[in-house]
């Protein structure tokens, strides 16, 4: 009971003169690390701050409600959402295949799935043209049999975005599946569930948080997609001109509009990050 009062007195009497030095030893960061670290932080923060500083706050409401901006924003949201939907429908089963089925060449398949993550998006766009373009190896059949042309259409935007964004979803869902206990699926099997029923009624609900996180990540990636979209779908206002494309174009004619559009995308990014913080930021 005397301990709490004892301690500060001792500290006051003997430790305080030396305590500043002590403290620095404990939490001290060597300058050769601290300076580059602060530089790095500034490097990431300053551009975003500059964007906020230079935003034409007075004309912002007018900018954001202009038909061009509204058109691009609407198209971006619709296409990113559709691309996420496509990624979910074909990406989740692909993730399941990679995580749960042992087939020869699985490592290679996984590498191929991850490739679009590191591939320059423009290359992705060119590759899509070669595959689904009017003369592409698949596209020519789509054209002659069904009369479907994908490049330079809104559907083309969705395809380009899905191509770039789906790997994020697949990787995220596969990781969640690997972490999920496969014995729940075994338990479901002993209760008479087919493998598909077990997936639908047991696995899917268990990995739902991972799927949601992957979907948000894919959606954010699709929303910001530029290279593959402009290569495969072009830049037609109202049809294929998404927000990033509009920003790029506006920068050359109307920098104020570009800043306003960028601010919208930044806001969306922050919302996404806030939504994912439990999953990605608490890891540290």
């Amino acid at each position: 009971m005397t301990l709490p009062t004892d301690k500060p007195r001792t500290a006051a009497g003997t430790l305080r003169p030396g305590s500043p030095r002590r403290r620095r030893v404990r939490t001290g960061v060597p300058l050769p690390l601290l300076i580059p670290a602060l530089l790095g932080l500034a490097f990431l923060i300053v551009p975003l701050a500059a964007l906020l500083v230079r935003t034409p706050w007075q004309s912002l409401p007018a900018q954001l409600t202009s038909p061009e901006v509204w058109q691009a924003l609407k198209l971006s949201l619709i296409c990113a959402t559709l691309a996420t939907g496509v990624s979910l429908v074909i990406g989740v089963p692909l993730a399941w295949l990679l995580a749960r089925v042992d087939f020869p060449g699985r490592g290679l398949v996984r590498a191929l799935v991850t490739l679009p993550l590191v591939l320059p998006p423009v290359v992705g766009g060119v590759a899509l043209l070669m595959a689904l373009g009017r003369n592409g190896i698949v596209g020519q059949w789509l054209d002659s049999w069904f009369g479907i042309t994908l490049p330079f259409t809104t559907a083309g935007v969705v395809i380009a975005e899905a191509f770039v964004a789906m790997p994020f979803l697949v990787i995220s869902v596969e990781g969640t599946l690997r972490a999920a206990d496969p014995r729940y699926e075994e338990a479901a099997a002993t209760l008479g569930a087919s493998r598909f029923t077990a997936f639908r009624r047991v696995t899917l609900p268990l990995i739902a948080p991972g799927i949601a996180a992957g979907a948000v990540l894919a959606w954010a990636r699709a929303l910001g997609e530029f290279g593959a979209t402009i290569t495969f779908a072009g830049n037609f206002p109202g049809r294929t001109q998404t927000m990033p494309l509009a920003v790029y174009l506006a920068l050359q004619s109307d920098p104020e509009a570009a800043t306003a559009l960028s601010l919208v995308l930044l806001a969306v990014s922050i919302v996404v990050l806030a939504g994912l913080r439990d999953r990605w930021m608490s890891a540290g």
């Binding site: 075994e186 099997a189 002993t190």
Partner: protein, 357 residues
């Protein structure tokens, strides 16, 4: 109900199996014949292959060789979802996103019942197992004993012809165990089809099962009723489980020459290879070599270790004859027992029990 009947030959009803699984370094080869209404426990140390045997029966691990018939139907090529088999897993594996009711309704649903029918059946099962008040609870809100009963209800709700229980009591604390064990015994007694449980706990096995099959290193080393196995253990593992000192030797009249040690005197008159067993409480320890003692079995030993065992001290002895001895705390203090101490151990012939191999 004929609960003590032991099915030996291949019968039409019940389980008839020879389970062979080859995994390179480990080979399981276990023959099992279980009659309907009978409860058999696969008892063995960790890594003996018990759980593998259970997984093969459930269809979760394929057979390398052998056969698997249940009520006359070949099961070995049937996928797990088509087998009339229910499993209670060691950690239950209740689906965490479903309520107790929906966990139990899962099986009937998979078998084609409508949602309402499945739920009605599930409610009935939960009621039968005394869980009517917990139908709406998610698994994480259930106690260990309740979760175990939900798992049992879930397995029984598919009306299996073979019920498998993997270490059914291992996940429970000591106090709940006692109560759940008694309950589980009643439920197993009511179960009319084949029940096979896997455990490393001899008490669970003896309370729950009509017949024990002891598995070591992937093979059956002994099988019989609990009483028979407790009286006549055939391996060190079982002897230790039932708390007996066990030796193997060559009998000649009252004397038994042990394979790698001294001779023992027994009351039985036998010849040929025999087992000799005696309980740790039959061993008396002395500081000096006993002279006037009537015991003829006297060995010089060294204390290797000591531990409390109930209200007694159990001493692990090495020397002429490795053995385990039980003595009171007072006796241990008077003898000044400590690891490394030299003692003389005696066992009266009347307290040993010899039986042919």
């Amino acid at each position: 109900m004929n609960r003590t009947r032991t099915a030996t030959g291949p019968s039409v009803d019940g389980l008839d199996a020879r389970l062979v699984v080859d995994r390179g370094t480990f080979r399981l080869d276990v023959a099992l014949a279980v009659a309907p209404g009978e409860v058999v426990a696969l008892l063995g140390p960790n890594g003996a292959g018990k759980t593998t045997a259970l997984r093969v029966l459930a269809g979760l691990t394929p057979l390398t060789d052998g056969h698997l018939r249940l009520d006359g139907t070949e099961l070995d090529r049937m996928p797990p979802e088509s087998r009339p088999v229910g499993v209670v897993f060691q950690d239950y594996l209740l689906f965490p996103h479903l309520t107790a009711l929906d966990n139990v309704a899962f099986g009937p649903r998979c078998q084609g019942a409508t949602k309402a029918e499945a739920r009605a059946q599930a409610a009935e099962w939960l009621d039968r197992l005394g869980l009517a008040a917990h139908t709406g609870a998610k698994p994480r809100r259930l106690s260990g004993g309740q979760a175990q009963r939900v798992a049992l209800a879930r397995a029984l709700a598919t009306r299996p012809r073979l019920l498998l229980l993997d270490e059914p009591l291992a996940a429970l604390d000591a106090r709940t165990r006692l109560e759940v064990r008694a309950r589980l015994r009643r439920h197993l007694a009511d179960f009319e089809a084949v029940a096979v449980l896997v455990t490393h706990d001899p008490l669970d096995a003896m309370v729950l099962a009509d017949r024990l099959v002891v598995v070591e290193h992937g093979r059956v080393v002994q099988e019989g009723t609990p009483a028979d196995i407790a009286r006549h253990p055939r391996t060190d593992y079982i002897a230790r489980l039932v708390g007996l000192n066990l030796y193997r030797g060559e009998a000649d009249g009252h004397g038994v020459r042990l394979a790698d040690g001294p001779s023992l005197t027994t009351t039985e008159v036998l010849s040929g290879p025999v087992f000799v067993a005696f309980p740790p409480s039959a061993v008396t320890l002395h500081r000096e070599r006993p002279t006037g003692s009537s015991a003829r079995n006297v060995w010089r030993c060294e204390v290797a270790g000591m531990e409390t065992h109930g209200d007694q001290i159990r001493a692990d002895l090495t020397g002429e004859l490795p053995l385990v001895a039980d003595l009171t705390t007072v006796a241990a203090a008077e003898l000044g027992l400590h690891p490394g101490a030299e003692v003389w151990a005696t066992v009266k012939a009347a307290q040993t029990h010899a039986y042919p191999v």
